[in-house]
Symmetry: C2
Subunit: 184 residues, 2 copies
DNA sequence: TCGAAATAGTCCGAATAGAACTAGACCGGA
DNA sequence: TCCGGTCTAGTTCTATTCGGACTATTTCGA
């Protein structure tokens, strides 16, 4: 019980706890919700979502109840507790720490001197395509939630994504010019 | 031996293998090198660098030799093998897979409806400051390697970083305007 | 009626993060 | 001279995270 106040939880716990503020949900629901919302900037494995739920219950930050269903498999529903809401707010008010950033693309680019020029160009062109596609997906989502005041904060994260991928595309264009003009 | 051809290695193995293309090095050297170069887009824990080295040797992609030193602790030096170079090139030529992106900042922003407006503003302002600082660090590095042809690929990754943080700063400015003007 | 898809969840191993720890040699100041 | 700090060099341990395989049940379409 008291452990809710002392134990230090990882961010993924709060990602799950945060999703519970949208209402009572099963693990399965949260997996789906995460895929449609957090996916771009926080994508816990589904096994992790289930284990975070167990941890939240153990820490008193959520409650669990079993629901028997006739038409489909039984399930367990989770609900955030007042202690959970307090814990979430405390976490939200802490300053995020340094953001680690990881990119297989940049890693390969960094060792680009080991690649042929054609391969290097193909690498950057592929990245440009991927970014362009991601951009289009985000714009579609944007059109769907447009104007809906419930998604005020979500809209900001969406616009962050759009800015990110737009910057990617421009960078790719510049890099391609450099690589083509470089010593050709 | 043959395992070098079949076994599927994680990207971190290739990060270490790639660093070995710069010359024979100890684990300690690579930790330092990673901190000064890969750090922005690929930051393996130092314990992982050491274990990757062991794995590379076991797979025949690198060789190890002990060096006794009088003035400081003994060390082991690692060198990439021809099989290692082939493996690295094969990996470089594979298309990178979908880039997971993870941000504690965006996660908190997404749950921004649980925060007071002041906290939300402070969150974004903090992110702007962090991005601005990162930008300045990268620009300094850029000035140092400017014009040096050895860092052609590295320069591209650096410019990627600059583009990324510049986009961050602009996004923060827009977000702050939205949040301040929104319903004030 | 067969198989695919949706619902609901578990299990396991590998990869990663990150902090603490060992240990030798150095260097500067009290 | 002794003490602490720093650099070099590496190990160990735990917790976290990822990702795929696996078990079930029910529904729905061909």
């Amino acid at each position: 019980m008291g452990s809710a106040e002392t134990e230090r939880l990882p961010n993924s716990s709060f990602a799950v706890l945060g999703m519970l503020t949208f209402g009572e949900a099963s693990g399965y629901d949260l997996v789906k919700l995460a895929e449609r919302s957090l996916e771009f900037f926080w994508a816990p494995a589904k096994s992790q979502i289930y284990s975070e739920l167990r941890r939240l219950v153990a820490a008193g930050l959520a409650t669990e109840r079993e629901v028997e269903q006739a038409d489909r498999p039984d399930k367990r529903l989770y609900r955030i507790t007042p202690a959970g809401e307090r814990a979430l707010r405390r976490w939200l008010e802490e300053r995020p720490e340094h953001e680690p950033f990881k990119s297989e693309f940049l890693l390969k680019l960094f060792f680009g001197h080991q690649m042929s020029r054609e391969r290097l160009l193909a690498l950057v062109e592929g990245h440009r395509r991927d970014s362009q596609e991601a951009l289009e997906r985000l714009r579609e989502i944007g059109a769907q939630i447009d104007g809906d005041p419930r998604f005020r904060s979500a809209r900001l994260t969406l616009e962050y994504g759009i800015a990110h991928f737009r910057a990617n595309v421009s960078w790719c264009d510049r890099a391609l010019r450099t690589l083509k003009g470089g010593e050709g």
